[in-house]
């Protein structure tokens, strides 16, 4: 068991190394470098450029810059190019703004995707299955921002409420209960929109996974034994059908962070996706690299946890890996 854990651990460390290289390297793909971002600006004389390059360590070879970058990141010294604030507190603050969105979005995804997918598979080709299929495909086919605009217009025209931002603009001095209600209301649209694609994709996976299991031999055997349909479906089929989804917990993270760029831009939500977008616009490389790196590391931790979970729930994997 210990050797299995060690092997998984070393594999993840390799992955981590490549992730750090790619996060850092992507920025340096472009010809030129950050100091040349505005070559036409007359205030940037060559001497000044040289000074900036020295100040930010851009005159050193890439390998040195790479080591320096991660040393600073882990010691917390890394500072944003834009306002010279430490990067980590900035990201952590924005993360807590995004967290309610991620949380509600994830809960919505899991609460809707599984029932939809499972009933779709069990009652294949029923009216319900056909309707959810249509709705699900419609939801993933609309460009996210188009759907968001349609929904915003619909809500604002019909309910006359403020939906943009994390709270109503200029709200202050109201009792805490009303403030909480305001925050909750502002959470509804962005988290529903953030969850739509996830619900659609995951419910399709669940459906086809369940279909494969329902058509397999051991389920037929269970029926042949004379078990009643509920026991066959929910005790025999469901348990195996849902196994692969243990691994999907980790893989949901990158989608949420990537998707939050659009949603948070539309809703002026001061979260992590918007921070990333602003950093890209202002070429604030430390923030961009750190965000890419941290998202990938979070996913890595997520997949590590689900690997371990998988070993707990599925003895076949445990034995295969121990060989």
């Amino acid at each position: 068991m210990l050797s299995v854990l060690l092997r998984i651990g070393s594999k993840k460390l390799w992955t981590l190394f490549f992730i750090s290289v790619i996060s850092f390297g992507v920025i340096h793909l472009a010809p030129g470098e950050p100091s040349q971002i505005d070559p036409l600006n007359p205030r940037f004389t060559p001497e000044q450029l040289e000074r900036y390059r020295k100040a930010f360590g851009l005159d050193q070879p890439l390998s040195v810059q790479y080591v320096e970058f991660y040393r600073k990141l882990f010691t917390g010294e890394l500072r944003s190019f834009k306002d010279n604030q430490p990067v980590l507190p900035k990201i952590v603050e924005r993360f807590w703004n995004s967290f309610p969105l991620f949380l509600v979005g994830t809960i919505l995804i899991w609460c809707y995707a599984f029932p939809l997918g499972i009933t779709g598979a069990i009652r294949r080709n029923s009216l319900l299955d056909k309707m959810t299929t249509v709705v699900v495909f419609a939801l993933i086919s609309i460009p996210g921002f188009y759907l968001a605009y349609l929904l915003i217009i619909f809500v604002v025209e019909n309910f006359h409420v403020d939906v943009i931002g994390i709270r109503t603009f200029g709200r202050g001095g109201v009792p805490a209960v009303l403030g909480l209600m305001d925050r909750t209301w502002h959470l509804v649209l962005p988290s529903v929109l953030g969850a739509t694609a996830g619900v659609a994709v995951l419910s399709r996976y669940v459906r086809s996974q369940m279909l494969e299991v329902i058509n397999s031999d051991y389920v037929r055997t269970a029926r042949a034994k004379g078990l009643d349909e509920n026991t066959v479906l929910y005790k025999h089929a469901l348990r195996n059908g849902l196994l692969p989804f243990v691994t999907m917990i980790g893989l949901l993270i990158p989608g949420m962070i990537g998707g939050s760029v659009i949603i948070e831009t539309i809703f002026a939500w001061p979260g992590i996706g918007r921070l990333g977008y602003e950093a890209i616009l202002s070429r604030d490389y430390p923030i961009v690299i750190t965000l890419n790196f941290m998202a990938a590391v979070l996913t890595l931790v997520g997949t590590l946890l689900s690997d371990l979970l998988y070993m707990v729930v599925d003895p076949r994997i445990r034995l295969e890996k121990a060989e």
Partner: protein
Amino acid sequence: MAAPLSPSRLAWRSFLRNRTALAGMVACILFFVVAILGLVMTKGENPILDPRQVRLADKFRPPLSIPDGDVLPAEDLPRLGMYLLGTDELGRDVFARMLEGAFVSLSVGFVAVGIAAAIGIILGGIAGYYGRVRIGIGTFRLMTVDTLIAGLIDVFLSFPTFFLILTVVAVLKPSIWNIMVVIGLTSWTGPARFVRAEILALREQDFVQAAHALGVSGRAIILRHLIPNALAPVLVSATLGIAAAILTESALSFLGFGVPPPDATWGNILADGKNFLFDAAWLTIIPGTAIFIVVLAFYVFGEGLREAFNPKLRQL
């Protein structure tokens, strides 16, 4: 008794029975025709429908409106005698721009998916066939080929793809080629995993052993015998990939990093149109609905293929 049908014939028969998927396929073919027509009608020195013709006197005309013949010179009038889908903020004909954009959007999807599929097939093929070969420096054996490629897939799955694409496109300056290449380079993991899994199963089969015994080289076995048999899942993920690429392009356009003007794509027509949502709703609704229908068609078509090619999901 009739001879048993081949697996691909079986798949095809099952596909034809799926009405929704069939409708998706028809819609995809229609989209191809429109895109090709669009290319023919809007390109060249003196195109039939000029998407770049600016008519400031006729800006923000709603769909089906008749051009103002008094102000515009005769050669600037639209060939159709009216603005079928209205005009935009520069008085350009939206119908012509949508036709031009159809081909550009389609080629973004195709090239991106082509790149992704090529990388996926090559890496997946190598991982599947040569997976057990160990690589290393000198006598020190580091890892197997399979570990390396599976690790690479893990790395790419860990990144928030859309944010990574946004970063690269922003750093490299948005251009239509950069966007195609970047989407392609970040979405090869799906095809690679499918091909690898498929080849792992195929390589143990008798016909591969027979090819071995006949002295066929490893490369020829992969290219001639294994990959053609492993293509079905790639085809499916390519169909879904085209849809995803069209959506990604429109999302990039929304953030200001899409295909830059003067090339029109459905994504950037939509992204520009949203600025005039309340004054000229057709500038948003027309491209939005067009993207919706085409992406939906590709998804439904791809899903139908997937069910047809997977014997466990097939309905007979």
